[in-house]
């Protein structure tokens, strides 16, 4: 790579670009942590900062972690079927704490009928089994870039 263009570029772009920070949260009582861990690792490998909560998190714990860690995105993994009871609570608590700008995405065993319902509540995207990791990485990058872009322009 041409070093001079590299330097030039640095002058144009803001000097510090904050890494995207994601909370990967296992909401609910199920212990199926394979997906959450694989996604957490893929996001880390893609250069993001990842905090993984571990299993059996309540909505309150998830939102507290999101607040303390100051994350851009909360990625909820749930395979117990309790998503329609627990995800709305997470969204509600995020709003209460003024974290409306944190993007929430959900992954797991989510019946097709529930996907539009979750999105209507404010979930940005639902990733079903078989979703490629790079689709998740891309979605998060685009989402955060759009939001940060809006902020700097506005």
């Amino acid at each position: 790579m041409d070093r001079s263009s590299d330097i030039l570029e640095q002058r144009v772009l803001p000097p510090i670009k904050r890494r995207i920070k994601v909370l990967v949260a296992k909401l609910g009582l199920d212990g199926h942590d394979r997906g959450a861990k694989v996604v957490a690792r893929a996001l880390r490998d893609a250069g993001m900062e990842v905090v993984y909560t571990g299993i059996r998190q309540t909505p309150e714990q998830v939102v507290n972690a999101a607040l303390q860690e100051d994350v851009d995105v909360v990625g909820i993994s749930i395979l117990s079927g309790a998503h329609m009871a627990l995800v709305p609570r997470v969204l509600e608590l995020l709003r209460e704490k003024g974290l409306d700008d944190v993007a929430v995405v959900v992954g797991g065993i989510i019946p097709g009928d529930d996907i539009p319902k979750l999105k209507a509540m404010g979930v940005k995207e639902v990733f079903i089994p078989g979703t490629p990791l790079n689709a998740i990485v891309d979605f998060i990058r685009r989402n955060v870039a759009a939001k940060r872009g809006d902020q700097s322009e506005g």
């Binding site: 609910g28 212990g31 065993i109 078989g130 790079n134």
Partner: protein, 569 residues
């Protein structure tokens, strides 16, 4: 009986040399031209465990040392590679045991009767998450989870309802339950008693494998040592009082589903088994309880490797019991196992394809000599099975059993150069992991070091990468993809209503029971736990007076503490 001493090498040096010579000539004269004309699809072919698979296998791959009696023997004889019974499925086909349960005990009772009417031969109960963790339905943590992943059980009353009009002396029931296994077994015993069936007449299985909860599945409650103590309480109690009960099902299934390879699944399951036996012999002679141990494996999609795994598993366990623990009874050396087809192999995309996947996996389990089988329903990447999907899954087993002729001869793949070679390779790789765990001081120590947890996380990530790179094909996911409307008819549960009704019943039971008797039973239990006695008899007494699951588990948590996992990824 012990033909193990008789040597019977299958091939001599001279024969092998002839085959080798012929093969090298074949490579020059035939193979090279063929490859020039049509190159092979890949440079390297591998099993899901990463074992490289050659183009073709001959007796040379087994070698001159390959001894028939040492490696294979006859069905029903040590080392049981060819099966536990002399006639296998010619006498009786495997038990078709479909895991089911959802909603309220009433709904589950209906589903069980439906499955029995379809010709299912054994019951298998799925519990909801609060029950799996020993929480009552009115626990704040249970909100939204009651009746979702299985049936909710809070008190004996629920168990009575689940088995209403199902004669408990005529069915056998598997209960997938781990830390609260002593409580659910106690409820089963007392519910049967109320039907007039004594505990000597009931049959079934409690999963009761607490070690794998730390490794995979993650429905742990207590720390490893007390968890193993409780596992052994159930084993010991069953040995003495419930002669037809399988007190434990040492499970590789969840380990595999969490990401382990076939080799890792096999090794970690056996290492768990070794840890239980090692602790068990401190309480009972090995031949007293070893025949009561049973196992549970996954049947994944890589057909031959799965068959090799099942066959290697029997041979390895027989050897462990005989040589490591000095078991004398052949039954102590038996690895009896249940199999479930691979949930993780099911796709949300083009879900009907899952029927085919499940059929192939079921076939592997049968060719591997399983004792019982659960076939997954095609809609399980979306939700719990609908009635229709569950029926197709059961019919799949019935077709294999009664139409195909596969069940008509014992261990039909024995003697396949490839299958025998692969059985040996899977075994060899599994021993390496077992020895590694032994060096760490056994499975409890390995778990505390995070070794199996890391092994599985690594494998899961590697497999996902292979899928992303297209090295591992999944039809409908990374090849032959279709634009599709992702909706299939699925089972709908009115969860809030289930939760409301369940909590209501719990309150009613609590209001109607004798609080003094409950208090006495719970304090007796606590005293027994503190004194390190077998807690089973005390739990039975507590269950009988309608102490709740949460109350009983609460007492045990006070004494034993709780396990908190350090999350790693």
């Amino acid at each position: 009986m012990n033909r193990g001493c008789v040597k019977l090498p299958l091939f001599n040096e001279e024969q092998l040399k002839k085959i080798e010579e012929r093969e090298s000539k074949w490579i020059d004269d035939v193979l090279k031209k063929s490859i020039q004309r049509i190159p092979e699809r890949k440079k390297i072919f591998k099993t899901l465990s990463g074992i490289e698979v050659k183009r073709v296998y001959t007796p040379v791959d087994l070698g001159a040392e390959y001894d028939y009696f040492e490696k294979l023997g006859l069905p029903g004889e040590y080392p049981f590679t060819r099966g536990l019974h002399p006639t296998m499925y010619r006498a009786r086909v495997w038990t078709m045991r479909m895991f089911s349960g959802y909603g309220t005990p009433e709904e589950t009772n209906q589903r069980l009767k439906y499955l029995l009417a379809l010709g299912e031969t054994g019951l298998s109960l799925a519990f909801d998450y609060p029950t799996l963790l020993g929480l009552d339905s009115d626990d704040p943590l249970a909100h939204g989870e009651v009746g979702v992943c299985g049936v909710a059980v809070d008190t004996l009353k629920d168990m009575e309802i689940i088995f209403n009009e199902i004669p408990m002396d005529q069915v056998t029931t598997n209960m997938t339950i781990n830390p609260p296994a002593p409580v659910l077994l106690a409820m089963y015993i007392v519910a049967a008693e109320k039907q007039g069936v004594p505990m000597t007449k009931i049959g079934g299985t409690t999963q009761n494998d607490n070690l794998k909860e730390f490794i995979a599945q993650k429905s742990f409650v207590f720390p490893p040592e007390p968890a193993v103590k409780l596992t052994l309480d159930v084993i010991e109690f069953s040995v003495k009082n419930v002669p037809k009960w399988n007190p434990i099902s040492i499970s590789g299934y969840h380990i595999r589903e969490a990401g382990a390879t076939a080799v890792e699944e096999l090794a970690l399951t056996l290492a768990d088994g070794i840890e239980y036996v090692r602790n068990g012999i401190k309480r009972m002679p090995v031949d007293e309880f070893a025949p009561r141990l049973s196992f549970f494996f996954d049947a994944h999609i890589n057909f031959f490797e799965e068959i090799a795994k099942f066959r290697a598993a029997r041979r390895m366990w027989a050897k462990i019991m005989k040589e490591w623990f000095g078991a004398k009874k052949p039954r102590s050396m038996w690895m009896r196992f249940h199999t479930q087809t691979a949930g993780v192999s099911l796709t949300a995309q083009q879900p009907e394809n899952n029927i085919i996947r499940t059929a192939i996996e079921a076939l592997a389990a049968v060719l591997g000599g399983t004792q019982s089988l659960h076939t997954n329903a095609y809609d399980e990447a979306w939700a719990l099975p609908s009635e229709k999907a569950a029926k197709i899954a059961l019919r799949t087993q019935q077709i294999i059993a009664y139409e195909t002729g596969i069940a008509d001869t014992v261990d039909p793949l024995a003697g396949s150069y490839f299958v025998e070679w692969l059985t040996d390779r899977v075994e060899e790789e599994a021993w390496k992991i077992i020895y590694r765990i032994e060096e760490m001081g056994g499975m409890i120590e390995a778990i505390k070091k995070g070794y199996p947890q890391r092994l599985i996380a690594e494998s899961a990530y590697r497999q996902q990468k292979e899928i992303e790179r297209g090295e591992r094909v999944i039809v409908g996911v990374n090849m032959f993809i279709e634009e599709e409307k992702l909706e299939i008819p699925i089972l709908k549960i009115n969860q809030p209503e289930v939760e409301r009704r369940q909590i209501e019943r719990l309150r009613r039971v609590k209001a109607e029971r004798d609080p003094v008797k409950v208090k006495t039973a719970l304090s007796n239990l606590k005293r027994a736990a503190v004194r390190n006695e077998n807690v089973m008899p005390y739990i039975i007494e507590a269950v009988r007076v309608y102490a709740t699951l949460g109350e009983i588990m609460g007492v045990l948590k006070e004494v034993y503490g709780e396990w908190i996992e350090v999350p790693i990824f």
